[in-house]
């Protein structure tokens, strides 16, 4: 039975989060919106705008620190804020489904996929055999060709995309009338996230599930949502049909967000880094193969992940490296950085090579300040700072767009974008000849992404620092890199001028990556 009218109405919702007993910060400020039955409603905004809190408030999964101060959450005509915790939990299992951002840890590692899913039906007192059949059917629906085999596997043996499919299957098994998807694709590569979004779209149409789709990527919601709303500081500041927001954003904020997520090179002042013709070679890789080995003394097994990789980067160049998850990008980076020993081939480096990694939240030590990190980087580089270290640190921070006040902050006191800038400052301290950046933007929201991209691009231009940018975001590659190499299954399948490779792809791999982008991921 489909509910007639708006399936979800949030009216004047104000929510605070308390910190160690201190009175709470206002996270949602008089938030109001409605989701119509059967539609996909997109919810976008930068990190910290309150998107995830909205999802948690609607689903009733708020932590004990969060408190709803005022307002109503009306689901199928009933006010959820008036219900007890127990009633709300029951509703979760029956009518509201949730899919979260990171599928890697969202399944119990000790149970098979099948029993992870079966628990949903056990809540409903379904008998075992019938439950098993439903689980297998649902796994087939979400796109697994051999559901029995998937059901018997443990989560750690699945890829990120497969796990997210399993979680979607879990949410769909409950046959909810509302599905809340909180950044369901942001940790997945382009091709995988496209298929996940298609799947969600089909489920919406075929099963009549209304979806609240949360994302920080405007492009991702473009072709996918019926309507979109934009959140900032805990309220909705722009809301209309998808097309109108994209075409003619009403508020300046939305226009800005849109420009940033499109990474328009002209508006951001980006130029693709290019080496001079006679520039010296900074990194030269020849016939490189590498992989991982398992086991100890007695029995050793090894697996070659990348094979016969050959490329050069000249000083001042900015080279893009693209490919879907599992193609060997990260292994290549680790080998270049000396974290994995190559099994054959050679790497010639000219000068220091520094690296920026994907997740700035975990790559900084939470127990130490920014100054400590910069000092460590300075020590590691062996560079002589002269007398006044602090002035060097501050100069470097300023160059990355941070200020002196950030010097004595801890990583937890910085935003994701700021942390990534600290990581970049740590690179710059050593005056490297090249920076390798492994998906440095994917954990950031659109605004921080744009500023970090701008920063790297400026460093590349002004310092003539060579860059190797690994990303699955083709917009980034197009805006920053003059040359690109495409990897698939451990080998380079295509390389050349960014413009020509992306406009006339010669291989299926590149075409698939481009298709995913066309879809707006």
């Amino acid at each position: 039975m489909r509910y007639k009218g708006n399936i979800l109405e949030v009216k004047g919702l104000t929510l605070t989060v308390s910190n160690n007993g201190e009175p709470g910060a206002v996270i949602l400020n008089g938030l109001s919106f409605a989701v119509r039955t059967g539609e996909i409603m997109g919810l976008i905004g930068n990190s910290g705008s309150g998107k995830t809190m909205t999802a948690l408030a609607v689903s009733g999964l708020l932590s004990d620190f969060a408190k709803i101060e005022s307002g109503q959450i009306i689901f199928e005509g009933e006010d959820l804020t008036a219900k007890t915790a127990k009633e709300r939990r029951k509703l979760l299992g029956e009518k509201i489904g949730v899919i979260f951002q990171d599928p890697s840890s969202a399944l119990d590692p000790l149970q098979t996929v099948g029993s992870n899913l079966a628990e949903i039906l056990r809540v409903r007192n379904l008998d075992k055999e019938a439950g098993r059949r439903q689980v297998l059917d649902m796994l087939r629906i979400v796109g697994f060709e051999d559901p029995e085999q998937i059901a018997s596997r443990y989560p750690h043996r699945l890829s990120g995309g497969q796990r997210q499919r399993v979680l979607i299957a879990g949410a769909a098994l409950m046959k909810p009338s509302l599905l809340i998807a909180d950044e369901p694709t942001s940790s997945l590569d382009t091709v995988t996230s496209m298929s996940i979004m298609q799947l969600l779209h089909e489920m919406c149409q075929e099963m009549g599930i209304s979806i609240l789709f949360i994302s920080h990527n405007l492009n991702a919601v473009r072709n996918f949502c019926d309507r979109v709303m934009v959140m900032k500081d805990g309220t909705v500041i722009d809301s209309d049909t998808s097309w109108d927001i994209m075409g003619q954003p009403r508020s300046a904020f939305t226009a800005d967000l849109l420009a940033k997520s499109r990474l328009d090179p002209d508006k951001l002042g980006l130029t693709a880094g290019k080496a001079a013709d006679d520039a010296p070679c900074v990194l030269s890789v020849k016939d490189l193969s590498a992989g991982y080995s398992n086991g100890a003394l007695l029995r050793k097994s090894s697996r070659t992940v990348i094979r016969d990789i050959t490329f050069d980067i000249k000083e001042g160049d900015c080279l893009g490296l693209i490919g879907s998850s599992g193609c060997g990008k990260t292994t290549l980076i680790k080998t270049l950085l000396g974290l994995i020993r190559p099994s054959s081939g050679s790497i010639e480096k000219n000068g220091r090579i520094a690296a920026v990694f994907q997740d700035p939240a975990t790559s900084l030590n939470p127990a130490h300040t920014v100054r400590w990190h910069l000092n460590e980087a300075l020590k590691a580089s062996g560079r002589n700072a002269g007398g006044d270290k602090d002035s060097l640190f501050i100069r470097t921070l300023n160059e990355t767009g941070l200020a002196e006040e950030h010097l004595h902050r801890f990583p937890a006191q910085l935003s994701g974008g700021q942390r990534q800038k600290v990581a970049i400052a740590m690179c710059l301290i050593g005056e490297p000849s090249a920076i390798i950046a492994d998906e440095p933007f994917s954990a950031l929201d659109a605004a921080s992404q744009a500023s970090v991209i701008k920063l790297l691009s400026d460093i590349n231009r002004e310092r003539k620092t060579t860059m190797l940018i690994v990303s699955h975001n083709l917009r980034v590659i197009r805006a920053m890199c003059s040359r690109v190499i495409v990897m698939n299954d451990g080998v380079i399948v295509e390389s050349g001028d960014t413009a020509s490779v992306l406009s006339a792809p010669a291989t299926e791999t590149t075409r698939m990556l481009l298709d995913a982008r066309m879809y707006g991921v």
């Binding site: 999964l61 029956e94 119990d108 590692p109 000790l110 809540v123 949410a171």
Partner: protein
Amino acid sequence: MRSAAGTILIKICEFALTALLVSFFTFIAFSVIPGDPARVMLGTDASEEQVENLRAELGVDRPLSVRYLDWLGGALKGDLGDSLSFRTPVNELIKSRLPVTLGMSLMALIIVLIVAFPMAAVCASRPGSLTDRIVSAFGHVLFAVPAFALSMLLILLFTKAFGIYTAGRYTAPSDDAGKYIASLLLPSVCIALPKIAMTFKFLRASMIEFSASDFARTAKSHGLTDLKILLTHIIPNSAVSSVTVISLVLSDIMGGSLIVEQVFNLPGLGRLLLSAISRRDFPLLSGIVFYLALITVILYFLSDVINAAIDPRIRDGRSL
């Protein structure tokens, strides 16, 4: 993935190496401490000649290296030699004492587990609550009290005040299993209490961590009750991370039992060990150390097996 037989073979090699190193270091330590078994046996009044004769009889006049290799040769065949002071085979001596130490350790472990798990679950389900704070404070107190002090306190309480226990009375399991358990119950409790605190603290932390995990949140979104999530997801996952800690606790328990035996006057390995040291009885000492090493290696092996049984990621080749 490594085959089960291969794994066991590796474990046996590991044990052989451990035992060899342990016996070697015991041997070195023994050559350093002053004292002579013959002198100890005969007392200070004996003449130099008497002592020399006994030394020859016992074979301790030979160089230490010869005695060690001799002992090692026997040990490889399963013969740990004869005790110098008791003049009986070391194997027999140990076998008669083993039930006390092992039984006590096992009972202590069971007590630790059945108390610490529920305690941790109760506290972890509402961290920071009044119950949590009271139970945690109680745990701290237990942690701080040394086993021997606790033993004396409990002996005093149960023998003098309640009159239901007699310290030092021990019944072998072959005589009466019920009495055997009863005679070891109180000492087991004494060993267990400080370890409960340790295990509880670890379990509580790991359960709180898993309550905040993504899969617990997924389970919530599936409509499971908190109790169900605790039982099916949180406890099994924290069990995996605790197995290693529990095996450490268990070797700690064995160490604790050596002291508690002394206080309760029980004929266990601990007392045998002490007398072996004070009488400079090298074969006996090496034998006991050898047995303790064997037990420890077996414990670690079991903890690996249990971990692999619960956690599929470990089964999938990440070192067993």
